[in-house]
């Protein structure tokens, strides 16, 4: 399993060095920050991030398969994780178990001897503790067939090690959060490139994203609906500024031209707001907004557009194919805006 980060790249190199034919597998969850940046045309500094898993597989000349797991089974898991969340919306243990089960299916399909990852004992507080690593191995049905080459000497020998297929003496005993040994090893193995900074690229570990994630679930629960995340929610949660107008309505306002295009494409089932005669952002309102919510949403959309200095701005409210024009004052109260921000 490869993310393209330093650890999984090193694990790949170590196993390949022992003469194995390796297939790299990269799981697409929909929550990858880098993929989202790519979809939005690159980073804020103007650079365009590359697909690190592809880059690593290409550098090491290893066949790679993408596995899309961003469907309902995975989305149900992140809403109801059996092993709970980390410090944000990250159900890392459940997520790893889910991926390892998929990896096991691929191992069986390919007739492979084992699955390996770049996990390091003690590197992550939740999913890379010795006890949780054992749990993930057991729950995924990979007992004895899941190898962590960077920390293998600190763990029970796997079946391929016991059978002599994999030379345990050439595996490592890296432990903890320091990456000095990995960086040294990368130099020794001639690995010149890996993403910086390290630490993963999952939105679920991001504090700001997590606030929005739990806001969606909490609003559903308050409305008596089941807590669930849909595929389109993932895109919306990583796009724009989010404001909780009331218990029953939320506003998303685009920050860039690309985000405005994305929001426009998600208008179905929502109200779309835009200034009529002036440049400005696209806003989307979800839920059942009251009259006050509508006025407030229009005022916020007006405040983020070119009409901000004007006393009144005409905002078009498009819903179910019907356009209504709201004549509003751009919301002047920054403290109020901030208090609504999710």
């Amino acid at each position: 399993m490869i993310s393209g980060g330093l650890d999984s790249t090193l694990a790949l190199a170590l196993v390949k060095q022992q003469g194995f034919e390796v297939k790299a597998v990269n799981f697409y969850t929909g929550f990858c920050i880098t993929e989202t940046q790519r979809r939005k045309g690159g980073r804020q500094d103007g650079t365009f991030p590359q697909n690190e898993a592809l880059r690593a597989a290409a550098d090491l000349e290893v066949d790679i398969e993408y596995v899309d797991i961003s469907d309902s089974g995975y989305l149900d898991l992140i809403v109801n994780p059996r092993y709970g969340y980390g410090s944000n919306a990250n159900p890392c243990v459940d997520c790893r178990v889910f991926m390892m089960r998929k990896a096991r299916e691929i191992m069986e399909r390919e007739g492979a001897a084992f699955v390996f990852t770049g996990e390091v004992v003690g590197q992550r507080p939740k999913s890379q503790r010795r006890d949780t690593m054992r749990l993930i191995e057991r729950e995924s049905g990979l007992r004895g067939r899941l190898v962590r080459p960077l920390s293998a000497k600190l763990l029970e020998p796997s079946i391929p090690e016991q059978e002599g297929l994999l030379d345990r003496s050439r595996l490592l005993d890296i432990n903890g959060r320091s990456r000095q040994r990995q960086i040294r090893l990368a130099r020794e193995l001639g690995i010149a490139e890996w993403p910086q900074p390290a630490g993963g690229c999952c939105y679920l570990t991001d504090e700001s994203f997590s606030r929005k994630f739990f806001d969606v679930l909490d609003a559903q629960e308050a409305a008596g609906e089941p807590r669930r995340i849909r595929k389109e929610d993932i895109v919306l949660l990583s796009t724009g500024r989010h404001f909780r107008l009331s218990g029953s309505a939320k506003l998303v306002v685009g920050r860039t031209e690309v985000e405005n295009v994305i929001l426009e494409s998600y208008g179905e089932g929502r109200a779309r707001l835009m200034a009529r005669d002036l440049n400005g952002p696209v806003g989307l309102v979800e839920g059942s907004p009251s009259w006050e919510d509508r006025q407030l949403a229009a005022g916020i959309v007006a405040r983020y557009g070119k009409g901000r200095p004007q006393p009144r701005v005409a905002i078009e409210w498009l819903e179910d194919g019907v356009v209504e024009v709201l004549d509003v004052a751009p919301e002047p109260d920054e403290t109020r805006i901030e208090s609504l921000r999710i």
Binding site: N26, E35, Q50, L54, E61, D63, E65, D68
Partner: protein, 84 residues
């Protein structure tokens, strides 16, 4: 290789509208059905294909013949590894 000298593709795969990594996922799927040596032309609107396709070809040892931009879309030519 310039666009003018590229071979006529055995198959064209239009991934327009799908976002990364799906153009690569669909490419991998399409390549399975092609014979060795066959040429696939992939059309994409996601700019990521310009960097992804050469890397994917390098990883999977298929020949990347070229990727060219045409306005808002990109076309990648790939030859499946192996002899025809």
């Amino acid at each position: 290789m310039t666009e003018a000298t590229l071979p006529t593709p055995d198959r064209t795969l239009d991934t327009s509208g799908s976002l990364c990594p799906y153009p690569i996922v669909e490419t991998a799927r399409a390549m399975k059905d092609l014979l060795p040596g066959a040429v696939l032309c992939v059309v994409a609107t996601d700019p990521g294909i310009a960097t992804d396709m050469p890397m994917w070809c390098r990883a999977t040892r298929n020949d990347h013949l070229g990727t060219f931009r045409e306005g808002g879309s990109w076309k990648s030519w790939i030859r499946k590894r192996g002899r025809p």
